[in-house]
Subunit: 143 residues, 2 copies
DNA sequence: ATATATGCAAAGGATTTGCAGCTAC
DNA sequence: GTAGCTGCAAATCCTTTGCATATAT
């Protein structure tokens, strides 16, 4: 999926929700799909400001929510009190391994774990909606 | 392990760390090992206040940290901005399934997942220290 | 006696919100 | 034109901290 396609999908989504297409909203989408991954709100805010578009922190937060609600971004909770956002489109599901020393984030996927999770949920008659799976430790470089 | 044993272990730990044994610290420990599980700081604070001992929120937070640092409690991050604390002693490792509707927390353990996690870490030459694994969805009763 | 704890209230950091003015449609 | 946005600053929520007073040892 090209960025142009994504952009037009986003515009469609906004229209469908009766929301307006504003430069700020476009800028937040563009920043997120740059795929630098795992961005903090403050980071996105600064990048847009430095770039060109005038934006406020409030609008960044509001737009990130729209992206998450419409499936364009995923919101991560790494347990440090700051949310992270990553593009969701074209990014297959994965979980995260976080270095306790340098903060580096490594993505991983394991279908076996996904399968077992579903079995566990089923066993408790629990309807699985999302999950968080994070491994914390010390990365290769920091050891 | 009886509660008396735990209490005396806690006192030993405090002494070893050069910390004083105060009624507030004892009260927080007692509240945590009541095993009502997954307690919020505010919850512990209110319970102690209602009970008998005069305590402040600040002291509850400070003591919960001591409990975590000394292996008496585990601090959970459920992604809602409030930390939860559960007794760690005599409570084998487990992860959590959280109902998005009623907030109920179900504990689960799966050795297969634990094993795969270790393999993933090993494969990335990552030294695993902790992990978070949480399943979110709708519980049996809320469906 | 004195080093350490406590309580209070104020500070902190991330995020949300109220509202007046601005802008997309 | 007007419903919906934006920006600002103030508000919120949980948690931490500074400091004067109280307390364990």
């Amino acid at each position: 999926m090209t960025n142009n396609k994504l952009l037009s999908d986003f515009k469609d989504a906004l229209r469908k929700e009766g929301l307006k297409i504003t430069p700020q909203r476009i800028a937040v989408l563009e920043e997120i799909i740059k795929n630098k991954g795992h961005r903090e709100s403050e980071d996105v805010y600064m990048a847009i400001k430095t770039r060109k578009t005038h934006v406020s922190r409030a609008t960044v937060y509001r737009t990130l929510d729209i992206l998450v609600q419409n499936g364009f971004a995923r919101k991560l909770n790494l347990g440090d009190g700051r949310a992270r956002y990553e593009p969701k489109i074209d990014s297959p599901h994965h979980d995260h391994m976080i270095c306790n020393n340098c903060g580096k984030i490594i993505e991983f996927v394991n279908h076996e774990i996904e399968k077992i999770q579903e079995e566990i949920a089923k066993h408790h008659q629990f309807k699985l909606q999302q999950h968080i799976h994070q491994l914390f430790g010390i990365c290769k470089e920091c050891q």
